[in-house]
């Protein structure tokens, strides 16, 4: 069968979701942000909750998320997305409120807001992209930067004695009573993408149950910040990030695994 005979609308099995705008994504080639954006929008599309969903964009690479996601969105001050999402979900308890944050936003400047929102058990979803570096500002060291990892502010590698150990914020919030579902996923291969989509779906389903906060960490690459090609960055991530940030569910239905 010729290719042109196959490429017909009735044979289509996958295309970009309508909830992503036609704006070209501002991310570097191969960045996991694009996949994470698309997965979130696909879940919202499949659940049919687009009219009831409000997103909060952070500061960082994904600051322009409101340009790419074709849903109601607002933008918070640096790190304050969980606080803003708290206000929105309390004013409209029936809305699906989510924040989309990077590691510099969530685990550095916004640590207090994140931990207290998790502790209060607000009825929101936090999607946390962890790439171990401040990508947007030029690859500075983030709280999640690994030991010995070079960045522009740790040119000799992260030294645990002076700079502290990488922060496992996901394990930290899993200890809090307010979180209902805490998981860590990645989006670099097809298997992981499918698992991550299920995790995001479960997080949004939990909003319906009003049990507490759902926290989905996505370990991602930053090929520009790590100075690698996208596939090399993905392999490096598998070898170095996953031993320290192991993938899988950490807390399901309010119980630690």
């Amino acid at each position: 069968m010729e290719v042109l005979d196959i490429i017909k609308p009735e044979n289509q099995v996958f295309c970009k979701t309508k909830l992503m705008t036609d704006c070209a994504l501002s991310y570097c080639p191969g960045c996991g942000h694009g996949t994470a954006h698309n997965l979130t929008m696909e879940v919202i599309d499949e659940m049919g909750i687009v009219e009831d969903t409000i997103g909060v964009a952070p500061v960082g690479c994904s600051v322009l998320a409101y340009d790419f996601m074709n849903i109601d969105m607002t933008q918070a001050a640096h790190g304050r997305a969980p606080a803003l999402a708290t206000a929105i979900s309390r004013l409209w308890p029936d809305k699906y409120v989510f924040t989309y944050q990077g590691d510099g936003d969530l685990a550095a400047i916004g640590t207090a807001e994140t931990i207290h929102a998790c502790n209060r058990g607000e009825n929101i979803v936090i999607i946390f992209i962890n790439n171990g570096i401040y990508g947007m500002t030029g690859g500075q060291m983030a709280p999640t930067t690994l030991e010995g990892m070079k960045s522009s502010t740790s040119p000799y590698g992260r030294d645990i004695k002076t700079m502290g150990a990488p922060l496992k914020i996901t394990e930290l919030v899993a200890q809090l009573p307010g979180t209902y579902y805490v998981t860590r996923q990645s989006v670099h291969t097809h298997k992981n993408v499918r698992k991550a989509k299920k995790a995001i779906r479960m997080a949004f389903e939990n909003i319906k149950l009003k049990k507490g906060l759902s926290f989905v960490e996505i370990v991602s690459n930053c090929n520009s910040g790590w100075k690698m090609t996208p596939n090399d960055a993905n392999n490096w991530m598998e070898e170095n990030m996953f031993p320290y940030f192991p993938l899988g569910d950490i807390k399901v239905d309010g119980k630690l695994k």
Partner: protein
């Protein structure tokens, strides 16, 4: 025996040539073109169209969702 045959359509102007779709393709269908798009990226294309099964692996890892997937059942 019923067999499936797939095809992908790459939006050349959206593709950033990151090559993330290449290792996840089980049939090694995808390669990067020599030509570049308006942004200067080598975009992905189907080098072995007959081997494509329409599994959607390439499309779901594509950060820019440049790939649409089509699939038909064929009987030989």
């Amino acid at each position: 025996m019923a067999k499936v045959q797939g095809a992908i359509k790459v939006n050349n102007e959206v593709c950033k040539g990151c090559q993330v779709c290449m290792p996840v393709c089980l049939e090694n269908v995808i390669e990067m073109s020599k030509a570049v798009n308006r942004k200067g990226y080598h975009f992905a294309y189907m080098a072995k169209p007959e081997a494509c099964t329409g599994c959607t692996n390439c499309a779901i890892v594509c950060p820019d969702r440049a790939i649409s997937v089509y699939r038909v059942k064929v009987s030989d």
